[in-house]
């Protein structure tokens, strides 16, 4: 699997789970301060970003590793990403928002790279 696809799959997946995590009251409160919760609009866009990121990650896996391997790889990357985000949200929740933004950018950059190097 080529480097840009790999990077995209991982970055998009971690960003997606970070977004989905922050969309939950418990983790949002950990990240933004006790008692705060996302507004309905924020929650919707976080969830959308999450699902979008997962689908982008799936596309990267399929494009990079073919139809059969791609699905297996996607599940493996989701497992790794979900565990990473769990650790992030429990040990450094305030960094989670920065991680989300940074990884989102990385995902976009590697998507561009993947498309350009195709």
């Amino acid at each position: 699997m080529s480097a840009p696809h790999c990077l995209l799959a991982l970055a998009a997946c971690v960003a997606a789970f970070a977004a989905l995590g922050l969309a939950m009251d418990r983790h949002y409160a950990d990240a933004y301060g006790r008692g705060s919760e996302p507004s309905p609009g924020q929650r919707r866009s976080l969830r959308l970003a999450g699902v979008g990121g997962l689908l982008l990650s799936l596309w990267a896996c399929l494009a990079g590793a073919g139809n059969a391997h791609g699905w297996v790889l996607w599940f493996g990357i989701m497992t790794l990403s979900a565990q990473a985000v769990t650790l992030l949200l429990s040990y450094a929740p305030r960094r989670a928002r920065h991680a989300l933004q940074g990884l989102g950018l990385l995902a976009v950059a590697s998507a561009a790279w993947a498309v350009l190097s195709a």
Partner: protein, 567 residues
């Protein structure tokens, strides 16, 4: 059962998991290591570490070298096997069955194997006798020191329990989505539950897949009834129709007429052309030198998800194609092939293999946290008894002991296996069995010690020793004839780099756990005077995992018990 579907599923989950948890931990640990069994085997043969990392020859050239050696040493053998070099193993593996059955009969004759340099045909340094990673792979489903059938029934039974545990666990997990990312450290039993949930839910696709596919791998042994009913005992027909990889229908008995073997390189070319460029992975010659000789060439299907593979069978004297096998596989058979393939992960490249390995480790942690959590939850029930100077119940004591034996003992035994590989002298008789005996001896002692003294100190000791043994592997390696980390990196042997690095990381994890246990104990000791009160409190909300355990010891001391088995 006891009121409510969810509750009955929770009860089922606890018991189906607990009763077979220790076996499952060993199965997960050995299975996870099996993802890298070729790399483990390579590490355990330091004589091969200096060989070039990349296959340096074409397959045609390699096979010619192999045949030359086989004609010299394997003449009269009923079966030659040539393993062609590929990415995971660049050597040329040549093996042949001895022409005469070994004296003493009974057991199937073991093939003699030699590794060759594929370019020059030179015999690579004879490697030490070792089962390598194959021991851990076989341990995973054949156990050891018992007939394979028994082992597979035991493992299958445990796997079925595991399947029920997984499904009932998912059903009973009320907040599976809202608790998806939840992990609250330092909160006692709650933390253990979070860890169990995290390692289980986040790798759920893997766990479900690996358990079901594991059962499927041996499904005709566990559920032969359909086949028996349909084929009415005609095993030959069943094998021929259901297993595309079954041995080709070639003559097994020699005709007695010596006939020269046809050159194999052209047959390789022919197969490559037929398979539109796909390379071959293995060549098997039956009855070489006889009129009934046959050459079977197996396609390299390691990139396919399915475990089914294609092959072509040629007549060994004329080179005529007899049949092609394993192409156009029908859907159910292909499904079974994919299930088996997913379990073995033979198709996985380095990244995917690493992910499988991590998921397997998550499985080990899932089982371990489940077992430990049961003990942690059970302990407060004995608080009153302890306050009165009694002991915890036999059941809990047994679980504590078995937990140590499995969770701390299995890693310890694996590390001991690798150390034994380097420390047992080369050339002595029965060397592979000695390495294996080292594994079981260490495991047995660890388990025994754990059952006799199920204390925090015992955890610390075993985790520390295991951690040290693993962490020192990168030092042990170059000191005992292997290529060290930097040498291996320089020569491109990334499998060696990986092995040493993973051992170092595993050692670090084990040592960190031991250190963390010691820190918890120090905190508990600091509040030693409060221990009897804590022992009486059944649900101390701020109690850290195993916090109640050091409370046992000061409580005993406080009550003047004359026991010496304590930290």
């Amino acid at each position: 059962m006891k009121g409510g579907f969810r509750q009955s599923m929770a009860w089922l989950h606890t018991w189906s998991g607990l009763l077979v948890g220790w076996v499952l931990f060993m199965v997960f640990a050995s299975g996870t290591s099996s993802y890298f069994r070729e790399e483990i085997s390579f590490w355990m043969k330091p004589e091969l570490h200096r060989t070039p990392a990349q296959p340096a020859a074409q397959q045609a050239q390699a096979v010619e070298q192999a045949v030359r050696l086989l004609e010299r040493e394997g003449a009269g053998s009923p079966r030659w096997t040539i393993g062609l070099p590929d990415e995971r193993d660049p050597s040329l593996r040549v093996s042949w069955l001895p022409s005469k059955p070994p004296a003493g009969g009974g057991a199937r004759p073991r093939p003699l194997t030699v590794n060759l340099d594929p370019a020059t045909g030179e015999r690579l340094a004879d490697t030490r006798a070792t089962r390598g990673g194959d021991f851990l792979y076989r341990l995973h489903f054949d156990l050891h020191y018992m007939p394979a059938m028994w082992a597979r029934w035991i493992i299958g039974f445990c796997a079925m329990f595991m399947l029920v545990a997984i499904v009932s666990g998912v059903v009973t997990h009320r907040r599976i989505f809202s608790d998806f990312f939840t992990f609250r450290p330092r909160k006692g039993p709650r933390s253990w539950l979070d860890a169990h949930n995290a390692t289980a839910v986040l790798a759920l696709p893997f766990h479900l897949m690996i358990t079901y596919t594991g059962l499927v791998t041996l499904m005709f042994m566990y559920m032969p009834w359909g086949a028996q009913a349909v084929y009415k005992g005609d095993e030959k027909a069943f094998t021929a129709e259901a297993f595309p990889n079954a041995r080709a229908n070639v003559p097994q008995k020699a005709a007695g007429r010596p006939t020269p073997l046809v050159p194999i390189a052209p047959l390789l070319e022919q197969s490559r052309a037929h398979w539109q460029g796909s390379a071959a992975t293995r060549v098997v010659v039956t009855l070489p030198g006889d009129a009934n000789a046959a050459v079977t060439i197996y396609r390299d299907d390691s990139a396919n998800l399915s475990a089914n593979y294609a092959s072509m069978v040629f007549d060994g004297t004329t080179g005529r194609l007899i049949e092609t096998r394993g192409e156009n596989i029908p859907p159910a058979s292909e499904t079974r092939g994919v299930f088996v393939g997913l379990h073995m992960a033979h198709f996985a490249g380095p990244l995917l293999r690493g992910l499988f390995f991590l998921s397997g480790l998550a499985g080990c942690l899932m089982v371990a946290t489940g077992l430990l959590m049961w003990a942690v939850k059970e302990r407060p029930k004995y608080a009153k008894a302890l306050a009165r100077g009694g002991r915890i119940g036999f059941g809990l004591r047994l679980v504590d002991g078995l937990n140590i034996g499995a969770i701390a003992g299995v890693p310890l035994a694996m590390a001991a296996y690798f150390w034994a590989n380097r420390l047992i002298p080369v050339g002595i008789a029965g060397r592979p069995d000695r390495e294996i005996a080292a594994f079981f001896t260490v495991w047995g002692l660890a388990a025994l010690a754990g059952i006799v003294w199920p204390s925090r100190r015992m955890w610390q000791v075993q985790l520390t020793v295991g951690g040290m043994l693993f962490a020192l592997v990168p030092l042990l390696n170059p000191l005992t004839g292997g290529s060290g980390l930097f040498t291996a990196a320089a020569s491109g042997h990334w499998n060696l780099v990986g092995f040493d690095t993973v051992c170092l990381l595993l050692g670090a994890c084990l040592l960190t756990s031991a250190w963390w246990l010691a820190r918890r104990q120090a905190t508990a000791r600091g509040a030693g005077t409060q221990a009897p009160r804590r022992a009486a409190a059944s649900t101390a909300p701020a109690a850290a995992p195993l916090q109640s355990e050091p409370a046992l010891v000061p409580a005993r001391h406080a009550l003047g018990a004359a026991e010496s088995a304590s930290p």
